[in-house]
Amino acid sequence: MKILVTAAGDSLESPVDPRFGRAAHYILIDSRTGEHEVVDNPASTAPQGAGIGAAQRVAELGAEYVLTGHCGPKAFRTLTAAGIKVVVGVEGTVGEAYQRFLEGGLSAAEEADVEGHW
């Protein structure tokens, strides 16, 4: 299973980026191997609809879970349509967030937690 965490930097020690669509980087972790890769977010500079563009990219990457700070309604709708579960309100470093998730300390959101334009 692949878990994607929004990151302000490019390592497991980087803080979780609270934004989904305009996050600087994505860190994709494979829970079977424990390996991770850093992926750029091409949508972060989109003039509009960054969250949707980003969600599409996340779907292409094959992630099943997204761990982030906040997720707006359009990105949420897109992720959900692609069968991806979203965990919001995630804080700390990317590595810590991933550990908490593995330990079952994080659960998927039922709906977007912020309004659009975030």
Binding site: R22, T45, A46, P47, Q48, E115, H117, W118
Partner: protein, 304 residues
């Protein structure tokens, strides 16, 4: 680091003059001019530009004339009327079989960057480069660093440039250990203003006692409520219509939003602007004292 955003809904309420006064009172701090459509703060802050960078957003279509066969497919496909004919003075329909076709070019002000012409041009004669729609700057001022920007005319202010200016200002504050970022917010209730207020520590709404400003005040109040932002109100030129000022005070009370002060109409505000100074730095005036009072209340709200 805390962020104070000053917004007004309607233009011309004296928002920028108040921000300039706050900059003088709160220095040293970091200032961000997010009113990128009509940025005026630099006229008082007299910035020395240290860094500048192009702002790119979306794409624009451009026809390569040497590759264009003037077939007109793009003109028929474009829903924004952005394909213009030129150089057709000689074209006379009905003459010999080969009447010259008009040359085509894309009006960059009408092009919305959809890419339909690029996709369907049979000759592949249309380029689709990124659009440079403005420029942003990091400058030094007498109050601390200023991050500001200029949007080219006819460009869409989607909030992306506002987000960029605000983010850079936040970075600077972290680097320099400044506790406050003061933001001159965007007008209106659309995307740019949303981009300038979300997640702010406190929003100060500047209004004036007129029917139209009163109307716009309700819209920005709704906006701050919608995004769960702490906000307060300040009435500028409050003595122009004491009755509406009183109505606004009642309205704030009913909404549970603090009224942080009133500033009377004072020619000193324009006088300071003419001298390129903030009201605080200019000769002592009633407006300066009242702005000082509002600043004190805002600091309490921000807990700084």
């Amino acid at each position: 680091m805390k962020e104070l955003v000053v917004i007004s809904g309607k233009g011309g309420t004296g928002k920028t003059s108040l921000v300039a006064a706050f900059a003088a009172l709160g220095a040293p701090l970091v200032v961000a001019d997010c009113d990128v459509d009509a940025a005026d703060l630099h006229l008082v802050l007299a910035p020395q530009i240290r860094e500048r960078a192009p702002f790119r957003s979306g794409h624009e279509a451009r026809i390569r004339p040497e590759a264009c066969t003037r077939c007109g497919v793009c003109r028929d496909d474009c829903r924004f009327g952005a394909i213009m004919e030129y150089d057709h003075g000689d074209a006379r329909a009905g003459e010999v079989g080969s009447a010259p076709l008009p040359a085509l070019r894309i009006d960059p002000w009408a092009c919305e960057g959809c890419g339909v012409c690029v996709e369907f041009c049979p000759e592949g004669a249309i380029d689709f480069p990124e659009r440079t729609s403005g420029e942003w700057y990091v400058s030094d001022t007498r109050y601390g660093p200023l991050v500001h920007a200029r949007l080219e005319p006819a460009q869409e202010n989607s909030g992306k440039l506002v987000t960029l200016v605000r983010k850079e200002a936040g970075k600077l504050a972290d680097q320099r250990g400044r506790r406050l970022v003061l933001i001159d917010g965007s007008p209106g209730v659309g995307c740019p203003v949303i981009a300038s207020v979300t997640g702010a520590s406190f929003v100060l709404i500047v209004t004036e006692p007129t029917r139209s400003a009163r109307h716009d005040l309700e819209r920005v109040m709704d906006l701050t409520r919608h995004f769960h932002l702490p906000a307060g109100v300040c009435i500028n030129k409050s003595d122009i219509n004491p009755q509406i000022s009183a109505e606004i005070a009642d309205y704030c009370r009913a909404e549970g939003r603090p009224l942080l002060g009133e500033i009377a109409y004072d020619p000193a505000v324009t006088r300071a602007q003419l001298a390129g100074r903030s009201v605080i730095e200019d000769r002592p005036s009633a407006a300066a004292e009242q702005m000082r009072g509002v600043w004190g209340k805002v600091c309490e709200m921000l807990d700084i």
